[in-house]
């Protein structure tokens, strides 16, 4: 059930690059499922394998970032498919908040609906945060949704979040279903008036 989310603190994990699409976050073969359980193991699987083949390490495979809670990405993160499997995989891996320059809207909506704060920072700040985390993976990143600030290693960065989602996290109403259900009498009244549900009368 929904709960209040004001601050997230924990170690950071960088995922560099613009336009990281949801096929990269969770390849489509893992969408052949009827629950989201277990998706965390497959987050970024193809990117991880590709880097491994080149003798490199994806941050999700890098022991220095194991147990991180705050993912720092760049622009247009989560573009492409609407699959909620993507933020579900990231969350089930252990991420509790995302900081990025921008998001696709569907991805961002999915994050809010799951109670996963996803805030925006400038391109320069996203890169600065990634560099700080890379230099000191143990540094604690603190995201404060109330004052919209990210602090790490003695530095503070301003971040953005729409007023709606911000309120939803702060008052614990990010799972909108309860409120939507409360509105059902008004929903029925609306349906009784819509032209296409009433023979265009």
């Amino acid at each position: 059930m929904p709960s209040i989310i004001k601050t997230i603190s924990g170690r950071g994990i960088p995922v560099r690059g613009n336009d990281i699409d949801t096929d990269r976050i969770i390849p489509a073969r893992y969408l052949r499922c009827v629950t989201f359980d277990g998706l965390g193991a497959y987050a970024f699987e193809d990117d991880r394998a590709q880097l491994k083949a080149q003798g490199k390490l994806h941050s999700f495979d890098d022991a220095r970032f194991a147990g991180a809670k705050v993912l720092v990405a760049n622009a247009n993160f989560g573009c492409g498919s609407s699959r909620e499997h993507a933020p579900q995989a990231i969350a089930r891996w252990g991420v509790q908040a995302i900081i990025a320059v921008s998001y696709s809207e569907i991805f961002h909506g999915n994050c809010v609906a799951m109670g996963l704060p996803a805030v925006r920072v400038s391109q320069a700040d996203s890169e600065a945060l990634q560099s700080i985390i890379e230099a000191d993976p143990k540094a604690e990143v603190i995201l404060d949704i109330e004052v919209l600030k990210v602090s790490v290693a003695g530095k503070t960065f301003a971040c953005q979040l729409g007023d709606g989602p911000r309120k939803q996290f702060l008052n614990g109403s990010w799972d909108a279903l309860g409120e939507l259900v409360e509105g059902l009498p008004q929903v029925k009244a609306k349906a009784a008036k819509l032209p296409y549900l009433n023979a265009f009368g």
Partner: protein, 491 residues
């Protein structure tokens, strides 16, 4: 400077179709400041719905308006052997889940063999379910397609699928509206697919975040309904969650006589309503961008994002032609695709040719491909695997009635059953290794077509058809304009 258009309440647009349809469906302002928005048509498929139904059961909720949802199966459906149970046990589990969920909650399900199954974004329009002035939602980003009718159509995640099932509403913030004003008309050999790839190239994959796109102008209104669907389908590839086109006589003519379209006097009343929700002459937009349709050429993507497209006669661009922040992504695209800047795209050898998907799997797309094949007269190159996947059972039936399947088969193309097929890697149709596919689908993302190293060039059905026959990327106008350009070369 704001990083993104502000998401809450700061839109300026007025009297656009988006504003009118939004206002018609907004029920109330929620404590978060977002709106509770009524959804007129909800579509369901097997991939993004099982968890939503499970959550309904957990919370002991039911489906509020089961008659306003319609389900079909498309992503996981094999396009060769459709015998049940499916060879893929996970796919079979998903099929059984949607069958059980629809039965239990009283939702209409178009199954394979019903004559109405197919890619969800092809099925709903052909049944007349998608209509102007509606709000439409589906757990699939290409829901934007339905905007072609003058609906506002949103792709949503599974949590929102749950919300729509339980209440026929969702919580949402209003978007800004950008008018994309396309002057002039497309030249022969240039299609709606080329136009939208060109628009994406100019406005970028993220340029539309925060916006609904209104596609307007002679270059859009001169398109058929099916071409309009191709345009709106790919609005999401430009970051715009929805794209729409004002309804006109083309829209009304398409709808007349379809199963769920109004009939008799109600149809005339419907037309009056549909006209009333179009953007008014005095509509105000948050932004306007202008394009010239006559300047668009057959376009092919070369990279790993749908905005990385070039005219078939162009060379792969140098990274210096992009902003500094984009250059690492451009280098990544060169490396993944195995292409070098300055290399022409025409003449690139392909391994696979795929014609189908919610972007280009409609009857007019198959006709366009067949016409190219007949004019060319050759066979699919031995080095190329080419296949045509109708977007729905109805498209398949129509194509077979016209003999299109015989054209495809006679020239070496496989003819399949309806489904999403190789648009994405959820069924047996997949690339292998580093194969290069030329595809009429919508995404050229890394690994999208089923091999983690597989590569995709996006193009129109005509361009994919001629590439299958030539074995290389070829300007289709070489054929349509009387063969003045040698095959395999740019026009």
């Amino acid at each position: 400077m704001p990083i993104l258009p502000p998401l809450d309440g700061s839109h300026m647009s007025r009297n656009t179709l988006f504003d009118k349809v939004w206002d018609l469906h907004a029920i109330r302002t929620l404590p978060s400041g977002q709106s509770q928005l009524f959804i007129g048509l909800h579509m369901i498929h097997e991939v993004t719905s099982p968890q939503a139904f499970a959550w309904l059961r957990e919370r002991k909720l039911t489906v509020a308006f089961p008659e306003r949802s319609v389900a079909t199966v498309d992503h996981i459906v094999p396009t060769e052997n459709q015998a049940r149970p499916y060879a893929d046990g996970l796919a079979e589990d998903m099929m059984q889940a949607i069958e059980r969920n629809c039965r239990e909650f009283g939702i209409r399900l178009y199954q394979p063999g019903s004559g109405k199954q197919g890619v969800v974004h092809i099925v709903a329009p052909e049944q007349g379910l998608t209509q102007p002035g509606m709000t439409v939602a589906c757990g699939d980003s290409h829901t934007a397609t339905h905007g072609a009718f003058g609906a506002i159509a949103f792709g949503i995640g599974t949590s929102q699928v749950r919300d729509v099932l339980a209440t026929q509403t969702m919580s949402m913030s209003r978007m800004k509206v950008r008018k994309i004003d396309v002057k002039g008309r497309l030249k022969p050999g240039v299609t709606a697919k080329d136009l939208i790839l060109h628009i994406l190239r100019v406005l970028s994959a993220k340029g539309g975040v925060g916006f609904a796109y209104e596609f307007a102008g002679e270059g859009i209104m001169s398109l058929s309904m099916e071409e309009r669907m191709t345009i709106c389908n790919m609005a999401i590839e430009g970051g715009a969650r929805c794209g729409y086109i004002n309804p006109d006589q083309v829209t009304f003519d398409y709808l007349k006589g379809r199963e769920f379209a109004p009939t008799g006097a109600a149809f005339d009343k419907a037309v009056a309503f549909w006209k009333s929700i179009a953007s008014s002459p005095d509509a105000e937009f948050d932004d306007v961008k202008t394009f010239d349709a006559s300047a668009v050429e057959p376009t092919v993507t070369w990279g790993i994002s749908p905005d990385q497209g070039i005219a078939v006669g162009e060379k792969i661009p140098a990274k210096e032609s992009f902003a500094a922040s984009e250059q690492p992504g451009i280098e990544e695209a060169y490396a993944y695709m195995g292409f070098k800047p300055g290399q022409p795209i025409a003449g690139t050898s392909i391994d696979v040719a795929f014609i189908g998907s919610c972007t280009n799997g409609r009857i007019s797309d198959l006709r366009a491909a067949a016409e190219v094949i007949k004019k060319h007269g050759g066979m699919v190159k031995a080095s190329v695997k080419a296949f045509v996947v109708p977007g729905s059972e109805a498209v398949k039936k129509a194509a077979e009635a016209e003999g299109l399947h015989e054209v495809f088969r006679a020239h070496g193309f496989e003819w399949r059953e309806a489904g999403c097929s190789m648009c994405l890697a959820m069924n047996p149709d997949k690339l292998k290794g580093k194969q290069l596919s030329m595809s009429t689908s919508n995404r050229n993302f890394k690994g999208r077509q089923g091999s983690p190293e597989g590569r995709t060039l996006l193009a129109s059905p005509a361009m994919v058809a001629i590439a299958a026959l030539e074995g290389v990327v070829t300007d289709v106008r070489s054929l349509l304009e009387g063969g003045s350009v040698p095959p395999g070369r740019a026009g």
